[in-house]
Amino acid sequence: MSKQVVQVNRVVIRFAGDSGDGMQLTGDRFTSETGGLGNDLSTLPDFPAEIRAPAGTVPGVSAFQLAFADHDITTPGDAPNVLVAMNPAALKANIRDLPRGADLIVNTDEFTKRALEKVGFTANPLEDGTLDPYNVHAVALTSQTVAALKSFDITKKEAERAKNMYALGLLSWLYSRGAEGTRRFLEKKFASKPEILAANLAAFEAGWSFGETTESFSVQYEIAPAHLPEGTYRNISGNPALAAGLIAASRVSGLPLFLGSYPITPASDILHELSKHKEFGVVTFQAEDEIAGVGAALGASYGGALGVTTTSGPGVALKSEAIGLAVSLELPLVIVDVQRGGPSTGLPTKTEQSDLLQAMFGRNGESPVPIIAPQSPSDCFFAAIEASRIAIEYRTPVILLSDGYLANGSEPWLIPDVSTLPTIDPDFATTTNHEAADGTKEFWPYLRDPETLARPWAVPGTPGLEHRIGGLEKADGIGSISYDADNHDRMVRLRQAKVEAIARSFGPLEVDDPSGEARVLVLGWGSTYGPIGAACEITRRTGALVAQAHLRHLNPFPSNLGEVLRAYDKVLVPEMNLGQLSLLLRAKYLVDVVGVNQVRGMPFKSTELVDAIIATIESL
């Protein structure tokens, strides 16, 4: 039976099921096939903090959303076109996001009286008309999977577990995705369990065939490849991209990479990833606590390594004193904060941008620390190199602010040619740098480079440069302990000036304003880049004019930022916090920026930003 094939240019799918249903894996596989077909894509995993919350409950629902298109896209989509709900809890948790008329694929096997009651359905929504606004495909996913696998020598439970592959097969048929990559993936995953492998492949095939033959689906969709720049692509999420960036920074600087870290969601995957790459000489140290993680990294930096610590907001709070020590010692150190919902333990698996002020000010004393933020999952790679560059060249701790959405979300990445990466020169001190009145050659550890204000970095083992450093205030230049009031005033200002001087090492903020006549600027930082970009594009399609700019460097700001802000009648600043960048901009530039703020644990929807932009334009 041949079916009608419809060309569409953009699709958003959400897979939702129980934590144990394998929804993340299903999403990952679909993503991988989709990337291979040349579509642009963006993904958003959303999973609970519990490893296995009670089965069949709303808190236990794990979801994976992906958008893919025949054109350049920057967000995983506001609302799904298709929702796959593996049980009543998944339906309950996700149905409010589904627009009327959208496709809803429901696993009817799980809609038992008990399962419905567990999540508070008094009637079966499949029967009481509540799902009438949607295009419902009621599929007995579990029993059809079990039936398809009855010839295999596996338990019923094992057969049931393959239902996610059945669903993947069905969706793959629906959107004309191939099976090759999934086959290769399963062959690797179940290499030692041939029967399970065969069963999973059969489940996938069965799901595919079901789509082809059932009357429940009357059309099949095709999405043409996007017109992406030429080159070789892979799909990548933020944490592995960040880990690769750190390895690359180690290579281009010639410094061995030392990671001191304590496991914390959503940053642990960076530790996992780096621990797999000892072939690059990477040392990963799982410390006894957050403080030891940063302490060991700082100790390694003191010895001439690229010292890095990875954590999330609560960990940064614990590391604050050691970061302050690094400010005082003026040694390179990269602190990666994969932000999550706060305060305190907050929402460990949900995204937020609420650590900006902690990164900026969360230490005692005048303690300036440069701050870098990546804007997309693949950009975590380049942001890690940039953070390392600043840390090494300016002898300073640098905070890299990623977030949960960047960490786990993914996008296609045009794989860079490593020969194009910048080099980083650690410029170790090897000789004395000062001559005393009596002609003695001396090493002054705080005699600064006049251009960068960076101090010389002499590592232990360098003969003749033995010196002592510490957290006590140091005399300008010679570096010995000094309690002199004027010296302290000078040193505080020098440390601040050094951080400000970093702005000379990167370019000005670029503004995307195609008409050059926009009166409203949308300024963001970090992971809001995608939704802001999409919102600006939609706004422009309505004929309205809007400019967009995005900050990578949050401390110091680009040197032209004040000028950019003052060039517009209104500046909108969307942030997943209550206005932290807004506060900094208002304080520094006396510009009355307007915050657009939410802390729902999920990225902005582009439509809500469009509404804010249009309202602002109309208010002028």
Partner: protein, 352 residues
Amino acid sequence: MTETLPMPSLRLVPKSDDLLSAKDFKSDQEVRWCPGCGDYAILSAVQGFLPELGLKRENIVFVSGIGCSSRFPYYMNTYGMHSIHGRAPAIATGLAVSRPDLSVWVVTGDGDSLSIGGNHLIHALRRNVNLKILLFNNRIYGLTKGQYSPTSEQGKITKSTPQGSLDYAFNPVSLALGAEATFVARTIDSDRKHLTEVLRAAAAHEGTALVEIYQNCNIFNDGAWEPLKDSDVRDDNLIRLSHGEPIRFGKDNEKGVIRTSDGHIKIVHVDEVGEESIIRHDAHAKDPGLAFALSRLANPRTLTNSPIGIFRDIERPSYDRLVREQVEAVVASQGSGDLQALLTGGDTWTVS
């Protein structure tokens, strides 16, 4: 200057071509401890002892935390870091793991290492990182001007405990043994010969060596260790542990330590039990049982029956060595990493 000792812990540290002296290890900084502080004697002993290691001075690093003792690195003409309160073992761990060519020493006090930094101390000990930790124990907080510490005896009257402290004290040697330490020793600031012997053994040990040094704070806790220093009584109180020797002490060496039938140890008069019943000290015993029992012998209040010397000194590969071996094994089997291959990964597609 003696010959360089064969020391497994220092085999990767470059040796000095020149003969160094204690003077070479004195920095140009004015020492600012209170006159009469026990720290002076320890500093002098360390400066006097280091030349015999025969190491290049630039390959020696002292890392400290916060407190009076932690000013130590400023006075050593080596590389040094005065860090933050309690964290020196963590910082030194990162340094030692990434730099096998360094001899890394941690200087800390009873507050720094047992209060705020207790966690880092026990984890450094269990990992067996190649660090030498000198714990100056004066049973008081000096730099904050006289509050009780985690080694102060219960009931201590201090500024923060006018009615007497209520906490039970830590026994640093017992704690270290419980934390799987491979080298644990105790010595006294004023006994330069003993202090030097212990330092020498600690330096030779591969892995974490914890040396508790009974140190006198003459301002806030003067005389805390007097029963072990006063020449009239010290021989009655001090038990000098020496590997392979019977554990005997007393003015006339008349006392000894035996095992009781219920498995404990106790002090006896040697004449009453006979020399053959006296336990021979075995610092190399795999089982830390005897060392632990010895660590519990002293009366923490009167200091009678206080063992000093090396309680435990066993061989176990150091953490930093294992880390290096793991990296080397991966490089040997896979070759050095190919960055382009890493970035490319396994699952790619081409747009042309």
